[in-house]
Structure formats: structure tokens, C-alpha cells
Symmetry: C2
Subunit: 379 residues, 2 copies
């Protein structure tokens, strides 16, 4: 266990009195915009879980998607945010029993292995380590640690990820802006910037997006949009224009409306692809399953509510889809997964993490959750 | 005039005997994939120009689009390639009378000013300097230095750029991959990679692109395409997959065919936007104008000939479009522009660079050029 990595990230550990060092777990949600680390004490996985959950500390950092910022920067961000959470909770690495690191950009077992190997470099060998795509933590944040159903994330990026009760999993999208994540915040905003260019050079219709975006970015002509776009490769910076697109659509701009409608279709197609491959809706297409919806793009707007439109699309085919807006953030979902695993001592999978429930019991459990958090829900 | 910049780029100048230092001009074509610098002697702008043109030296370097590789790297590449061309021609900076630097990524007067200011840092104040978008040099390479008509470039990137006889200019596309250059080599290849991901996760139809691209990239699964895509941000690396898409389309793959058909439409739309805004086709839509076609994407293929399909689309609306495949490379076009300017001593514009010809005379001149280079032409 290193003590003096990266210019003293772990220096604080000397000051932690051993007496207060009670066992903890870490849950991390590493996205393209920000990274959150939650430190929670080990507790019995009773039903129901304490409300509010006993979070000891929460630390925040920047992007940790290695596809976006590169391996070294991603790793440094993750290490710093864990150190920060432990320091804030008055704890240190010797108190950690399990870590669930849920980061976007984990698309392949080799990604998982690479991250696991440097994570093992930070923590002693008895600490249980789990590396997952950040979508898994988002699902767990909606189902309070149970891996069943489908999650749709639409923030800067987008992904749909699902688990069956017996542990099979599938995903759609989440391949980043170059590879067709057109329903993401980045996708929506890039389409809007493109519409400005096309209107300017005569390839596309006039749109209100031009004046609104130029004003927002403090630019004087559409030509300058090109320089602005490539001046900084951060995906989150582009995605931050989504509210502008929504406001233009709400004001009746046809181009903006078309962009949002296509995004809705794309997001719904991602969910449908996952539900179909896993058979989450059962043979008759009517089985209940939780559909956790997360991310800025799905937040309710004045009139143009992207999340609601996506849900309308999905409900037409799958009447059993039960929309859930999580009460807790994805990093807490990651912490709950780590807690499950610490208890079971097995590697995370759908079957390990959740008692087998039949569809009806699950639907009831989900409805209870929904009733508890009415104001967070779509229905 | 600096002698020891960037670790001795200009060191070679000490060895150039002054007696052989006859006046020269430099023409540069700086693209997203490569940069070419041509050194030519000052010569009378007689009609016709000598064939072949008296090129003293040609130097080659990598990408110099500042939007793709950043300002510092772009600048270093441009400086090195100019030094290389002068060194190869047994010349030095004191022999240079004019430089035409045509680089992709020049989209706004501020881009032009920034590049001019550091170019002035390299050359003495009596050297005439011209900075243009690389499309201008490509047009000049097809019209042998005359700025009239429209050029369509489709290589890694794409742009349409046009000039009227009286010096008005317009462009369409050329805004890079984020901003809707869907007909570019990058655009075509990114769509193909996206099709592989969508087929894999259930959002799109099965396509031959999957096996062909995985084999080409030596990957074992579609998941690995994500890591491959983001491992290196170079646009040229993605665009290099275009031949794979063409071969799949020729083998009858529907997804690949759809991608190419959409690219053809996009490229034709860019040309039409420029022709329409400049009125190049005259009031009745039938005036002759040169349409210079440049770049790997427009090269003839076995059965699927993207350039020919684009031309078919354009001819439907503008029967006077005279397709030209240049005999010389764009860097030579840039050198001819520099030559024109050195002679005139004025800043480049359409009116300055070209004697006013009526449409018929122009059409005849173009047809002469075409007859001279039949095997380079589309018709």
C-alpha cells in the first residue's frame, strides 16, 4: 500500500487515529462530466435500508472517462477523489473493505482488468474490488442495490444497460460521440451546432438556434462556431448547450424540435434493444421491470420533457416498464453494490447481488419505492 | 529573420551560395492528413504555362490543421516543410518573393491573421504572404491559378469553395467532423464504425461491415471498436477505413450502400449551396463553370464511384458544371496563386488573380484543359 503517490495524495492517512477507523466501503461514479465518491460504513443489508442512508463523506472531482481525458488523467482523478472521501470521513485505506468503481468508458473486459490492476496497486489485497460501467451504479441507485431491470442514462453521454434476474446483462449505446450516441447531451448539442453551420452556409434551413447559440457563447458570427467547437475537446462543454436547444424547441423552432424528437427516438431505441435482448418484458411483452432514468437530458423541462417523451415511446411496446427516478445518486448505488459484495464475498453479477424475486413481487417492491418518492417520479 | 528557431530548422541556410539564389515562390497545401510545400522559380505568367511546370523542390510533412493537432504542432509542421523545400531547392529565405499558405482549418479572418503574424516572424517584410483555406489552392490546381468556379474536396475532411469572376467567394461544409461534414472520409468511416456498434448492440441491422472492419483493424469483437476509436484522436486514422466501406458496398451490403449514398447527397448539397449563393450557374441555371474535384473519396472505384455519383447529382440541376480532375496537386495551385500575386503585388482575391473571361471563353479554356488531361477526367 503506497503512502506517497502522486505528490502526497495519501499523506492525510498519518493523522487518522486508529481507534476511529471503523470498516467502510467506497462507491464511485465516474462520468464524463464529473466523478463522485461516497464513503459509507459497513451495515447489515436489512430490509428496508435506513433512510437516509448513513453516508460518511462525499467527494467530487472532474471527468474520469479514460476515452475522454486519457488513462493517466482518469486514474489520477479517481485516486484523488477516493483519498478525498476517506480523508473527509476521518478514515483511511486500512478501514476499506470493498470498493465499487463504476466508470463510464468501461466497455470491454480489458478495460476492467486494466483499472483493476492499478486499483490493486492502491489497496491492500484483502479489499474487495469491483469495476463496472457507470450505468450499473445508476441502475443500482434506482433499485437500491438490486441488479434487475434497465437503466437509461442520458447526460453528456448516453447508455442503456440491463440485467435479468438470473444475472444476464446487455447494453446498448454508450459508445461515445463518434460512434452514434445521438441521443446524448453531446449528440443533441452537436446537432444544434451543426444546424447553425448548415443554415449559415446554405445547406440547411434558417433556425433560431443561430442567434441563441451565438449569444450564449458570446460569438459574433456562425464562422466562429467552428473555432469554438475545436478549441477544447471536452464533451461536457458541448453538451452544456442542451438547455439552449430545449428553449428554442419550446419557442417553436422547427429545427430544434426535430433534433429533440430524433434524440427521443434514439434513446428509446437503446432501451428497446436492451429489453428485447434480455427478454425483460417476458414472452407476452407485458412483464413488469424497473426502468431507471438518470441524467440531465431526461430532466423535466417546461413543456419539452425529453424523459417523458422517451417513456411514452417505450410504454407503447412495453407496458410493464416501471419508470424510476432515483432518490439517491449513482455513487450511492455503487456503494450499495460494494456493500452487497462485501457481505456475499462474491464477484458482482445480477444473480449474486439480488434475491430472486418473481415479477409480481418485484413490481410491488418497485411500486413501494415509487410511492415513497413521488416527487422524483415520472408517473 | 530568425536563423536558429526550433532547434536549427533554418541552419541549412548558411551553406547556400548566394550566386545560385534565384528568386522563388513557395506554395503550401496543409491538410488534415499531410502537408506539401512546393518551391517554384519566379516565371512570366505566359499563356499557356510551361508543361511540366518548373518545380524546384517538393517537401512533405504531416497534419497542419490547427483544429486537429493544435496550434503549436501545426505551426512547427508548416515551418519545417518550408525549410525542407527551400533546402532541397538549394535556396534560402532571402530568395523567397511570395508565400501562399493554403491550410485547412482557416475558417475566419482571425485564423488568417494569427497565421500571418507568425509567418511574418519567419520571413523578411518584403516577402508577400497569403493565407487561405486549402480549398482555394485546390481550386487553383484545377484552373491553373485562376480563381473562378467551385472546388469540392472530399478527403479526410470535406469542403466546397467557390469564386465568381468578380471576386465574390462562398464556402459550404469544411466545419470538421463534429459539425456535420458527413460526406467526408471521416464522416463515411465514422458512420461505418457506428453501424458496427449498432448491429452489435441490437439497434441496427446486421452488416458485412462488422466482419470486414474487425478483420481490417485486427480486433476480435465489436466492443473493441470503441477502445480503438478513442485510442487516437486523429481524423485521418478513422478516414482510412473508407475503402473498406466501398468494398462492402460493392459486395452488395445494404448498410454500406446507404452510407455511401448519403455521403454522395451531402457532398452534392455542399456544391449546390455554393453554386446557388454565388449564382455561378447564371440566371437560367445553365452557365458553364469549372467544378474542380479533389480528394481520395472522389477517386474512381471499381463499381461504386463516389465522385461520378456526386457529379450526376449536380448535373441534374446545373448542366453547365464542367468537372475537372486537376493534373497538378493543390500545393502547385498554391504556388501558382503566389506567382499571380507576386506579379500583381496585390492581395489575393478572385478579381485580382484572374483575367475577366466571359462564360463561353471560360468554358472553352476548361475544355482545352480537359482535352489535355483526358485520363484524369470524369467525362
Amino acid at each position: 500500500m503506497k503512502r506517497y503517490r502522486n505528490g502526497g495524495i495519501w499523506d492525510f492517512e498519518h493523522q487518522v487515529p486508529l481507534s476511529t477507523n471503523r470498516p467502510v466501503i467506497l462507491g464511485l461514479d465516474g462520468g464524463t462530466t464529473s466523478t463522485v465518491c461516497i464513503c459509507m460504513p459497513i451495515m447489515p443489508l436489512s430490509e428496508p435500508l435506513p433512510d437516509p442512508l448513513p453516508v460518511l463523506a462525499r467527494a467530487l472531482a472532474g471527468c474520469s472517462n479514460h476515452n475522454s481525458v486519457g488513462e493517466t488523467a482518469a486514474r489520477e482523478t479517481l485516486e484523488e477523489v477516493m483519498a478525498d472521501a476517506l480523508s473527509k470521513s476521518g478514515s483511511n485505506r486500512s478501514a476499506v473493505r470493498a470498493v465499487c468503481l463504476a466508470v463510464s468508458g468501461v466497455n470491454h473486459p480489458t478495460d476492467q482488468q486494466r483499472i483493476l490492476s492499478w486499483l490493486r496497486d492502491i489497496f491492500p489485497c484483502q479489499v474487495k474490488l469491483y469495476v463496472r460501467n457507470d450505468a450499473v451504479a445508476a441502475l443500482a441507485s434506482g433499485t437500491m442495490g438490486k441488479l434487475h431491470g434497465c437503466v437509461l442514462i442520458a447526460g453528456t453521454g448516453t447508455i442503456a444497460y440491463g440485467f435479468t434476474e438470473d444475472g444476464r446483462e446487455a447494453r446498448a449505446a454508450g459508445a461515445g460521440p463518434v460512434l452514434g450516441d445521438w441521443g446524448s447531451g453531446y449528440g443533441i448539442a452537436a446537432q444544434a451546432l451543426t444546424a447553425v453551420i448548415r443554415a449559415h452556409d446554405g445547406r440547411g434551413p434558417h433556425t433560431m438556434l443561430t442567434s441563441t447559440i451565438l449569444q450564449t457563447l458570446d460569438l459574433s458570427s456562425a464562422d466562429e462556431v467552428i473555432g469554438w467547437t475545436y478549441a477544447d475537446p471536452s464533451w461536457a462543454r458541448i453538451a452544456a448547450l442542451v438547455p439552449v436547444v430545449v428553449s428554442c424547441a419550446e419557442a417553436g423552432d422547427e429545427v430544434a424540435n426535430k433534433i429533440l424528437k430524433e434524440a427521443v427516438q434514439e434513446l428509446a431505441i437503446s432501451v428497446k434493444a436492451v429489453v428485447q435482448r434480455l427478454g425483460l418484458c417476458g414472452a407476452d411483452g407485458k412483464n413488469y421491470f424497473p426502468l431507471v432514468m438518470v441524467g440531465g437530458v431526461l430532466e423535466a423541462n417546461q413543456r419539452w420533457d425529453i424523459g417523458k417523451e422517451v417513456m411514452n415511446f417505450i410504454s407503447k411496446d412495453y407496458s410493464g416498464a416501471l419508470p424510476i427516478r432515483p432518490k439517491v445518486e449513482p455513487a450511492v448505488g455503487a456503494a450499495l453494490l460494494a456493500l452487497n459484495e462485501e457481505k456475499d464475498g462474491k464477484e458482482i453479477s445480477g444473480a449474486d447481488a439480488m434475491p430472486l424475486l418473481d415479477a409480481l413481487a418485484l413490481a410491488k417492491a418497485v411500486r413501494r419505492l415509487m410511492a415513497k418518492a413521488m416527487h422524483y417520479l415520472l408517473l
